[in-house]
């Protein structure tokens, strides 16, 4: 489908209130066309409300949503150029896979032959052709998800909205499906906005990450920028793999894999040792009382193994400390 230069999505001052509670507080964001964006944050941070407002399933309290240059804030979901994939897939249990995918065409009054042909095309895209006559209940979770994708894509959306799409799958399948999602997004070239609370998933999938907390965007940028240069303590802690250390009046983030155990450095007592395969996660309490996590390569660790209670020296390159706001 090529480039969609004109299909940018903009949120302007977008606000959502439920009664007196502020769920989304005046957020502004520009989603560039054709990017895979992950909306990330803990539960209750406003990410789902934001997605549902973009989809049109939640009314907007204030502000606007602009897609491809036109204001879609108050349009019904099907008129926006967005399509939503629901968390539990929301497949119609009484319709066959083919009819589920063709549902939107049926609603438009497209004749059966045309919509079946179109539906088969989409099922081929998600590799589900041989299941066309089954009912959703006869499919596995991953297969249901593919059908839900096909159903959302048949409307030819400019933006596909995915509400925690992988949370219903087992861990093994989750990793496979996320590869498929990414591949599909590349092929189609449309914008995917993917809500998740898992940072692994966001890092693996997102060209761009938008981290939300307490109804506002805490940090946004490329996956690599957000992970390697967290702006706030919240982001550093939420993205994981970082230590947050108090440093003369301020706080600084330090990547756990930059901390090494050696002969010199800060005195600390090991509290936990966790074998993770490639690395060993060693948590140690320094004299100031803070816990510091060190990710030590497996081979290095087992040269001088440590146990909880042992004294170690923690060292890191001062240049790797990253000041937080």
């Amino acid at each position: 489908m090529g480039m969609n230069g004109g299909n940018d999505l903009q949120l302007v001052n977008l606000t959502k209130k439920y009664g007196g509670t502020l769920a989304v507080d005046k957020i502004d964001y520009h989603f560039k066309a054709g990017t895979y964006v992950c909306l990330l944050g803990p539960s209750g941070c406003g990410k789902s409300s934001t997605l549902r407002m973009i989809a049109g399933h939640e009314s907007v309290t204030d502000g606007s949503i602009v897609l491809a240059g036109s204001d879609v804030t108050h349009l019904p979901p099907a008129k926006r150029g967005t399509a939503m994939m629901f968390q539990n897939y929301a497949l119609f249990p009484h319709l066959s896979v083919r009819d589920n995918v063709a549902f939107s065409l049926q609603m438009k009054g497209v004749d059966k032959a045309t919509r079946d042909a179109k539906s088969n095309e989409l099922l081929e895209l998600v590799d589900m052709t041989s299941f066309a006559d089954r009912l959703p209940a006869q499919l596995s979770g991953g297969q249901q998800q593919r059908v839900a994708l096909a159903r959302a894509l048949i409307t030819q959306p400019k933006v596909l909205l995915l509400d925690e799409p992988l949370s219903a799958l087992d861990p093994f399948l989750r990793i496979r499906m996320r590869a498929e999602l990414k591949k599909l997004q590349r092929e189609l070239g449309i914008t995917f906005i993917h809500v998740t609370h898992g940072q692994d998933e966001a890092l693996a999938l997102g060209d761009e990450l938008v981290v939300m907390n307490n109804a506002v965007i805490e940090q946004a940028g490329s996956a690599r920028d957000v992970w390697s240069a967290p702006k706030t303590e919240f982001v550093a802690r939420f993205m994981g793999g970082h230590n947050v250390i108090s440093l003369d009046g301020g706080k600084a983030a330090l990547r756990a894999d930059d901390v090494s155990l050696g002969d010199q450095g800060l005195n600390a007592t090991v509290t936990t040792v966790e074998y993770q395969g490639g690395n060993v996660a060693v948590t140690a309490r320094i004299e100031a009382g803070e816990e510091v996590l060190a990710l030590v390569p497996e081979a290095a660790f087992f040269q001088f193994p440590k146990n909880p209670g042992d004294t170690v020296n923690l060292a890191w390159d001062e240049g790797r400390l990253h000041r937080l706001q």
């Binding site: 399933h57 019904p76 979901p77 939503m84 929301a90 939107s104 609603m107």
Partner: protein, 284 residues
């Protein structure tokens, strides 16, 4: 080991078996047996003869009365279904808070705290020739003369049926609707379905089992009824139930038994046909 576990299972099921045997199978068996007995004006005698059935099937009254019974059942079904579906839909999809849902649902059941007969009879002063309905309509100038068909007519019989049995439609339909995932409605909306399209293509198909259970309730209740038809028609209309009750009043037990057997078979056939359309097993 397997044997003893089997016998324990049979033992555990025995009380229910005994109850069903004593209060369902034996009475129906008796009715079946008596339906072949003979009767004179003043006695009944054990026999095996088909006279009762022969008379039943040769009498035009039987066909008229069966037709009336089907007519009542069908019209009552249409009204209870449309009212019941609407009420259940409102409760399940429009009332957002769960406490409100429960409160409104309980409100629906309040009339059922009084007896059937009382609810039925309370229509009589309302619908009568000089009843509240006629007086109100006359005072509004809608009519000049009291409407005669309000009471002791098919109208009043069906009105009472609908009043008595709509809840039997509301409860199973509401129950099925509550199990419909609300995100299906959003998904339909996301796919461009209008409100009516969502209702027809998503909600109605998924509510079918509830509709079917409600239908079975209403149809069996109406087809087996005799007291409503007697009271609300002022004994001017008849259905199969009344045929049986008249026979009993005249001590014509064999004839009543034969009619009962035919009615039972008819109702079972109707339910059998209904069940072919919808699989209700997952609702039970």
């Amino acid at each position: 080991m397997g044997k003893s576990r089997d016998s324990i299972a049979y033992f555990q099921a025995a009380p229910l078996m005994a109850v069903l045997l004593a209060f369902l199978v034996v009475p129906i068996g008796m009715i079946f047996v008596v339906s072949f007995w003979g009767a004179t004006e003043f006695s009944i005698y054990p026999a095996f003869q088909l006279d009762n059935y022969a008379f039943l099937f040769s009498s035009p009254v039987t066909y008229k009365v069966f037709f009336a019974t089907f007519k009542y059942a069908f019209i009552t079904w249409v009204f209870t279904l449309s009212i019941g579906f609407t009420v259940a839909y409102f409760l399940a999809f429009h009332v957002r808070s769960q406490s409100m849902q429960t409160a409104l649902f309980l409100l629906c059941t309040i009339p059922f705290l009084t007896s059937n007969i009382i609810r039925m009879i309370s229509w009589i002063p309302f619908l009568g020739r000089n009843g509240i309905a006629n007086q109100t309509l006359i005072s509004w100038g809608v009519i000049d003369e009291p409407l005669e068909w309000l009471l002791y007519s098919d109208f009043s019989v069906i009105l009472a049926f609908v009043h008595l049995y709509t809840l039997f439609m509301v409860v199973p339909i509401f129950n099925t609707m509550m199990r419909i995932d609300k995100s299906l409605v959003e998904a339909a909306y996301d796919n461009g379905a209008s409100g009516l399209q969502t209702l027809w293509h998503v909600i109605v198909p998924l509510t079918k089992p509830g509709i079917m259970i409600g239908t079975i309730f209403v149809v069996t209740l109406v087809m087996g009824d005799f007291i409503t038809v007697r009271f609300m028609s002022g004994s001017q209309k008849a259905n199969v139930g009344r045929l049986i009750s008249n026979d009993i009043a005249l001590l014509q037990y064999p004839s009543a038994a034969a009619t009962a057997v035919v009615l039972l078979c008819t109702v079972l056939i109707v339910i059998g046909v209904l069940l072919r359309f919808v699989n209700i097993r997952k609702e039970l």
